[in-house]
Symmetry: C2
Subunit: 375 residues, 2 copies
């Protein structure tokens, strides 16, 4: 099938570029002698998962229990659910473990640890838990300067659950703007994680796993001694935010939204297309970066970007394309019916607007890969 | 089932409030003596559609052909697809019409009109078309000061298609900030639409339908003479953007996201919950309003808002709740495991993140209504 046979909007995934991105991260992590537990919250696809970890499964990270269930059914048995656990999810965690999935969960507080341990005892199912570490003040987690809290959580877990180690996510790396800042963010993520593991081990807990991960830090780290696994995920597709941070080039972005020109407002220099925020998502992650890409950067059908042509505004099913403010580039002539590809700000958010990927290779649609959205 | 039996995050729809919102719009439009063709792009639900137009169907508006197909299968036969048509969608339009659905489409340019007329001739299927009018410079459409263009589109349609009339959407009403501005926006929407219909009729085209619609203008209009139908939709649920515009109160919002406290960063005054932007959407529609509600306003399980407690930040599956900047309100004590409800900025965007509604009445979950996302 050709791209022009697709109805629009459609989500395109360039398989050749996906494989290049997978190879790039593998080379980077092999060089750092560290394992990988790719985060599949961006892809939510069995086929993508198999390409990154191999057909026999392998360690993966998920953001929902639905992902854990679907990947589990597909033969992936070593899964980390990397969002702090809520009590109402424990029954489902236990059910997954009883189906033979080695599902580990995460928390950062004593109350949750106690609830997990109690549920584990009741179910006679030793639930493995990683303690979440706050390496940069970004979100959840115990700080390295809270050793008593760390040990209290480990103790609360010990009567029923299994303390498997620690995990952290350098969310602050998304604000890095120079290579030096990225290297520092990666070092801080590693140091915080390793320090917290040392605290636990010093208190007599094994804590074998030291899990870190974000795409910017994974690609910028110069040494990860003491780390056992890296959980990066968005690198599979990359996006304009990653390009703005400087860890990818625009032509490494494997994901785009296929759309069609439905009209013009010529006196305003506007081109209207049939992809709005329902297709692109409302993510404006580049708004705070040096180059604001609006709701996405516009490319021709082959994926070549037009100079400074971006989606400046989006309604639910309408996108407005125009030359970005301050640019002297000329609006290309794109008549009614022209098909275009829009590169997304944030691959996780844009992909989540679709139920499947149209997989593209050498300009042809070669497969349709389903995604699983929801919880 | 009780609310506390649900896993989180979940999308809650208060059926009593939905019915109140439906009744409010019906009273308003009955008073203006104008018909209604509710826009179902927010709800995307058969059950919601039946409550608003009755069990026997009735005129409805959709934003995707998937909606047209699903509503068509459920017995709704009078449907307007209110997004400018793209050539690749015409086969599907014709297939729907052949199944007995009176599906009308929209365009604002001569090229599209020619393509529709040609497809209609080839298929021997007289496709009805509304010409889109630009009443406030917001998006697509022909302006009332472009009579030649209007007539040229009508002519291009006439050889094969059916010119059914005109339609417009007062998107600019979302920027109205006072009741007087809303009344003016409604008058401008009506006047533009009626003027364009008059141009077409003066040129010898029947143009029987004059279709307008946005929730702010529908609820603010003081007279709609010459208008045949109103296409408002978000009023079914309302949201914080509508409350910010002033056409609804916060307690009229029928939609919320159920979430659970998963941890705290107490020194920062943060409460972490298991609803992030994947549940709320990335919509920040209140950011440009007088009261910025972050990613949503936080309520207790009964739906009562806490003073100034909002979701200040969101990761994919984590929300960070805190007292809004500048407020002296105290952070409520919400321990690990507490369930909360978050009111959304934009009902269309938040609802689209879920596959179904958990329907709530008197604090109990009384039904599950599926939604259809995608195209």
């Amino acid at each position: 099938m050709r791209l022009t046979d697709l109805e629009t909007p459609a989500l395109l995934l360039d398989r050749t570029q996906l494989d290049r991105n997978i190879a790039r991260m593998r080379t980077q992590l092999d060089g750092l002698r560290v394992g990988q537990r790719p985060h599949l919250k961006t892809a939510k696809s069995i086929e993508v998962a198999r390409r990154v970890v191999g057909r026999d499964g392998g360690p993966i990270t998920v953001s929902t229990l639905l992902e854990a269930e679907r990947f589990g059914e597909a033969g992936f048995t070593d899964i980390l659910y990397a969002v702090g656990i809520a009590p109402n999810k424990l029954d489902r965690v236990i059910a997954l473990r009883r189906r033979g999935i080695d599902l580990a969960i995460v928390t950062d507080n004593v109350e949750a640890a106690g609830a997990v341990a109690a549920a584990a005892r009741d179910a006679r199912e030793r639930i493995p838990v990683l303690i979440e570490i706050d390496s940069d003040g970004h979100r959840a987690g115990v700080r390295p300067d809270q050793p008593d809290l760390l040990v209290a959580i480990a103790r609360a877990l010990s009567d029923g659950a299994e303390l498997r180690g620690i995990m952290t996510h350098a969310g602050g790396s998304y604000e890095a703007r120079t290579p030096a800042e990225l290297v520092r963010a990666a070092a801080q993520e590693r140091d915080s994680a390793v320090a917290c593991a040392a605290i636990l081990r010093g208190a007599g807990f094994a804590a074998p796993v030291v899990s870190i991960g974000s795409t910017p830090t994974a690609l910028s780290a110069t040494g990860l001694d003491g780390v056992t696994e890296v959980r990066a995920g968005v690198y599979l597709f990359f996006d304009l935010v990653m390009a703005g941070i400087g860890v990818a080039s625009v032509d490494e972005i494997a994901l785009s939204v296929l759309t069609t020109v439905i009209g013009h407002q010529r006196d305003k220099g506007w081109i209207l297309v049939d992809a709005g925020w329902m297709a692109m998502s409302r993510d404006r992650g580049t708004a705070s970066q040096a180059v604001d890409q609006g709701y996405g950067l516009v490319c021709d059908l082959e994926g070549n970007p037009f100079v400074d042509l971006v989606m400046i505004s989006a309604n639910q099913e309408h996108g407005i394309l125009a030359i970005r403010d301050g640019s002297s580039a000329r609006l290309p002539d794109l008549p009614f019916g022209t098909r275009l590809r829009i590169l997304p700000n944030h691959a996780c958010a844009t992909a989540a607007q679709f139920g499947d990927y149209q997989v593209v290779e050498d300009g042809a649609v070669v497969a349709r890969w389903p995604r699983f959205n929801g919880w």
